[in-house]
Amino acid sequence: MTRVLLVEDNAQNRYLITFLLNASKFSVLSAEDGAEGLALAASGDFDLVLLDIQLPGMDGYEVARALRQNARLDGIPIVAVTSYAMTGDRERVLAAGCEGYIEKPIDPETFVAQVRAFLPEKGGA
């Protein structure tokens, strides 16, 4: 089973993303902010991290950089979830250590396929 760490401050978005991933047999652990996300990452094993960029307190870029310091996550893709409205974010997202990003608002019909595209070939869900 593919294990996903989700960091997203909006409760409904968290529910929506978790629901969609669960429906495709992914397991999801979610955090409301960067600090909680870092704590979960330090104690659990994950195959992929989904990271909202507009977070209260520590923003998504900082969280990504901090996650990249964690050896447990070596080789684990971090995927930013961000709105196109945020300009220049592609470079910033990559510079912070993310694999890439999925645009908000998420499309329920394609979201899981977009997430899968970031997973290494063999695994799948």
């Binding site: 629901f19 969609l20 709105s83 300009t87």
Partner: protein
């Protein structure tokens, strides 16, 4: 003797006059300096206030776009989940009504996006991406976006792209936004005939031409169409929906990209909108 005394008093008087003049000048210079300092302080205060207002405006816009879009995205997202049957099977009536909720949500999101876009552009807050993209693919994507609306009216969008168009550097999403607006208008104001989108290379970059066989635009209206909220058919009983922001946004986006937008139209015959963009291939400005 008397002559010398006279000379000395004259000179003294002259020296006295010079000193008074110098004192006067110094005082005036000091006064001027003080006034300049005062005005400078006033000006910089005014500038700070203006910059503060600008910052406030852009912060407000950013907050509004986040606050308005977040709940709507939630509505559209959960409706999508339900419509896919992921939360359980739906009967036909439920599917039909949820489909209406989603369509209204999407329509409202488009309106909000338009209003926010025009405010952002007017506030000088619009930033354009610089990345390589394929103009032919952008045109096809725009045509696909409007295809369903066209099909509902029994129209097809004929998309013709010149062979071997080079990749260009620019803001793909904003280029598509312009084309979608023009195509949506063409479909909206055409009941029969054809809607076409042509893409071709020009010496300066690329040209997109959107043509239709619709109701056309009377000559006296030509000057106003690119202004916000201008619609030829206004009033509550009007036949077409829309905010009148589409062409205003197109014009401003094209301006910002350094391009031009214009049209030719004959009432009852049709309209042809043309967008010229001075976008160049990535050879010089290399971006991934």
């Amino acid at each position: 003797m008397a002559g010398i005394v006279q000379d000395i008093t004259d000179r003294k008087r002259a020296e006295e006059a010079v000193r008074r003049l110098a004192d006067d000048l110094r005082r005036q210079a000091a006064e001027l300096e003080r006034r300049v300092a005062e005005r400078t302080a006033e000006l910089s205060e005014a500038r700070d206030r203006a910059e503060g207002a600008d910052r406030l405006k852009s912060a407000f816009l950013a907050t509004m776009s986040h606050e308005l879009r977040t709940p709507l995205n939630s509505i559209i997202g959960f409706t999508g989940v339900l419509l896919q049957g992921l939360a359980g099977p739906l009967n036909d009536e439920q599917r039909k009504q949820l489909g209406m909720v989603r369509a209204s949500g999407q329509h409202l999101l488009e309106l909000i996006n338009d209003v926010l876009d025009i405010s952002k552009i007017e506030a000088g807050q619009l930033e354009l991406a610089q990345a390589r993209f394929d103009p032919a693919a952008a045109a096809r994507r725009a045509a696909d976006t409007v295809a369903a609306q066209a099909a509902e009216k029994g129209l097809e969008i004929e998309c013709e792209t010149e062979h071997g168009l080079p990749e260009l550097v620019g803001d793909r999403r904003r280029v598509e936004q312009v084309l979608i607006n023009l195509l949506a208008n063409a479909v909206k104001f055409t009941d029969q005939g054809r809607v076409g989108l042509d893409v071709r290379a020009t010496p300066e970059g690329v040209a997109f031409v959107v043509s239709d066989t619709g109701i056309g635009i009377p000559a006296e209206a030509h000057d106003q169409l690119f202004q916000p909220f201008r619609q030829l058919d206004s009033g509550l009983a009007r036949a077409h929906e829309g905010t009148g922001l589409g062409l205003a946004i197109c014009k401003r986006l094209v301006d910002r990209m350094g391009g031009t937008i214009g049209f030719e139209s004959a009432p009852g015959v049709g309209s042809t909108f043309r967008v010229d963009l001075p976008l160049t291939p990535p050879s010089l400005t290399e971006t991934p």
